[in-house]
Symmetry: C2
Subunit: 339 residues, 2 copies
Amino acid sequence: MAIGIKELAQHLGLSIGTVSRALNDRPDVSPDSRKRVREAAEALGYVPNQSGRSLRSGATGVIAFMMQTGHETTGQGDSFFMSVFDGVQSVLARHQLDLVALLCPSDENADDYLKRMVSRRIADAFILSSTQTVDPRITFLAKQGMPFVTLGRSQTDGGQPWVDLDFAAMAQQAVDRLVAAGHRRIAMTVPQDGANLGRVFADAAQAALTAHGLPFDPDLMIAALPSERGGYEAAQRLATLPDRPTAVVLIDPSHTTGLYRGLTESGLAPGHDIAVVGRWGPQAAYLSPSLTHFREDLFACGVTLCEALLASMPTYAEKYPGGLVRALCPTVLVPGDSA
Amino acid sequence: MAIGIKELAQHLGLSIGTVSRALNDRPDVSPDSRKRVREAAEALGYVPNQSGRSLRSGATGVIAFMMQTGHETTGQGDSFFMSVFDGVQSVLARHQLDLVALLCPSDENADDYLKRMVSRRIADAFILSSTQTVDPRITFLAKQGMPFVTLGRSQTDGGQPWVDLDFAAMAQQAVDRLVAAGHRRIAMTVPQDGANLGRVFADAAQAALTAHGLPFDPDLMIAALPSERGGYEAAQRLATLPDRPTAVVLIDPSHTTGLYRGLTESGLAPGHDIAVVGRWGPQAAYLSPSLTHFREDLFACGVTLCEALLASMPTYAEKYPGGLVRALCPTVLVPGDSA
DNA sequence: CCGCAAACCGTAAACGTTTACGGCACTATG
DNA sequence: CATAGTGCCGTAAACGTTTACGGTTTGCGG
């Protein structure tokens, strides 16, 4: 069924060398031949064999986006990643590159999984998400010399570019707003596992509180799964806390629904008995009271992410000057009725 | 950095042929050599180059799962796909196969995208999701002779195996339950685009209604986007419908939150003024009143899906006898307070 | 001691590309 | 006219692997 470059060349009465050059837009090919080859390839439905091509050239033309997907760690909801993907792909399309998503099975170690994928040489570069505060994947890829970028920072530094949401700014803005509204005891949800964003967020919150001359109470940092359930359990914790806080800031978009439900069940009205500041998620728009939240431009974030990656790849670096990219994506606070 | 089979053979004082045979568990290799090769490969960190391997053997060892991701079509939420993925991967792991997800950019035609991916020969087989009632991807893959399976049925038949949720049973059970509770005018949400499940669902609902001697009113089939917003807009439609229905069945898990909100805003209490039967989604657990819904074993669904695919691939068929698999995954109705 | 089979191993061809190199025809220049 | 240069093209090697084939050793029965 599928024809090779040999057949195509034969059909044209040319050598495979010339055909290859014509298709790859190299010099040393007459405009006439180039056109003939183009048309014949189209007509015969020729597409180059990727295995042969990448065996020879050492590149696959594929970028891999690795995500971890535990049972409970569904995280931000898929619209989060999908928006980022769209941004990434819009950049990749300029270079005939394609994106694949690597889904680490929930029962496999993320580090092992990544190693397997790297050794498969399925992709020319990697994008890591859900970075942990200490993340062995980073050192591994750095040691391998494999180009990569992380969506999220980490204490482990592989010299790679990264792009992250500005959690510090979020924490500060949230605290500022709540304090201005008279709140003195402010709780927050933080990730249960080693996700780095929890650390960044908590540190910034502490700084913001002390800046206002308020004490920082570690008991008000409520560890929660990144899911509706996490929000629900956080609400239960909140309700039973001694000297109950009057406000809560949510680190994860999926916390919102669960928290609202949990608070209501405990007889606390969100936005009335307890002020809530959250992050944007598709479901947040349909809550009452409407959520005071942070909105992020995930598409733009994906674009930056991808450009940062390409800038770190020898092949594409010239098109993306400026060296190592380490960028924070801005977020804007959208006031609602909840805080 | 990465060493090849040649270096490995040289280091062992063996020929590359023997090394290859040893690593691939072929006969004609002494147990002693096999062991030495194994250990040396481990020690030197040798991993076979996938390009070379698949160039020679014509297989990549990768299965691709294609999903479409429009802005508004975030669909079932990611926990849906993640659960299916886990099921699929659990089977693939038995054969040293790996899964990648292909995310069709929202601004690209799905058919073109698939063609590109197929021609890249990035995978040995494909899994298609979000099947449309008439789906050109199916005929394309069938014509290409590329093994594939669809998650969801279609009127387009490529002779391929498929696995689908039992939407007909859901429709019938929902109608039965609602009619038994005294409801006579029952609305449903159906997908706006050409998704095949809408057709199946609507047909079964109609049959169930007529079986109960009730009329089928097409105006009660409310087209809705597969998102919270879709549910919200459906609620608005519902509230303004002449001779307002007393019950609604939701085809998409993400409809629930939006619908609850929409109804509430219109002064209608879910479960009281209007009975609601929905599908399971992560957020559904945190709603009040609790949702009467269908629960699906998505992991098992993924397992069946993958086995169906492997059974249709020449290389693996012998391990999965039984011919063409076309299966419906069962769902169970979980009663709640909403209907 | 010979022959034969079995067990093991090396050789080399193939998979489909890309690309360095050399060759040919032609033109421009001295 | 000789020479150098240019534009175009074919040849062949290389990428890293798998595998058919043939060769060498070994053990064993006659």
